[in-house]
Symmetry: C2
Subunit: 114 residues, 2 copies
Amino acid sequence: MDNIVKIFKALSDPNRVRIVQMLVNKTLCVCEIQEILNLSASTVSKHLSILKESGFLVDEKSGKWVYYRLNTNTNDLAIKQLMLLLPLYLNDDNQILSDKGKLNIACKDELCCI
Amino acid sequence: MDNIVKIFKALSDPNRVRIVQMLVNKTLCVCEIQEILNLSASTVSKHLSILKESGFLVDEKSGKWVYYRLNTNTNDLAIKQLMLLLPLYLNDDNQILSDKGKLNIACKDELCCI
DNA sequence: ACATCATTTCGTTATTTAACGAAGTGATTG
DNA sequence: CAATCACTTCGTTAAATAACGAAATGATGT
């Protein structure tokens, strides 16, 4: 019960839902996510730790950077299914579309890291 | 986005998850739910209104009583799927099993209403 | 009509949450 | 080795949430 409630709590904030959707088929470092969300680094870090703690994300250090990606290898059924279902619910969400658009530009122009 | 976040927020409280699971294949009045959760009537009423507002429940007045049940006729894909998936995640949860046990006894003995 | 019962609404309190900036950590670069 | 960069942790503040009891609402039964 605690586990499933923690999972739903993780998804009950719009900025965290945006993060999860940004990371579909992508690996991003904290500063890229910060750029899109337009929040302070500490706030973004906190959101990422909640998503990691609940099982949605894994991180990987590489030099100065910490990269986050979806925990696609999870054994948790709820996490696995919700990661698949979320995009269906948010495919046509303007915020999510806008985030993805910005991300592509940001990547092309190397807006943030490297 | 607001809609899906509202849905996850509704499920991000253990008492509300318990309510949803109690109502699987059952219709219950507020006082029965109150009996199981062991919370004040006003608190239970608030939880029910959040679940109703987010689309999980519908209510029906009948005399003195208000009956709540799952909104199985919803058009909302997320609500529909989450109602199906939740029991899979909580099948072996002790709290949920205990609630269902108490509910059967309560119904037999007409512990609460009627 | 009146008392009672089931439920909701209101006002309050304690806890949790989201946000920030400042300070701390650890790796990289000059 | 000092400065910088990416990120996290800490401490604070404002807002949201969960809980309660008291009062309001609305139907039932006497």
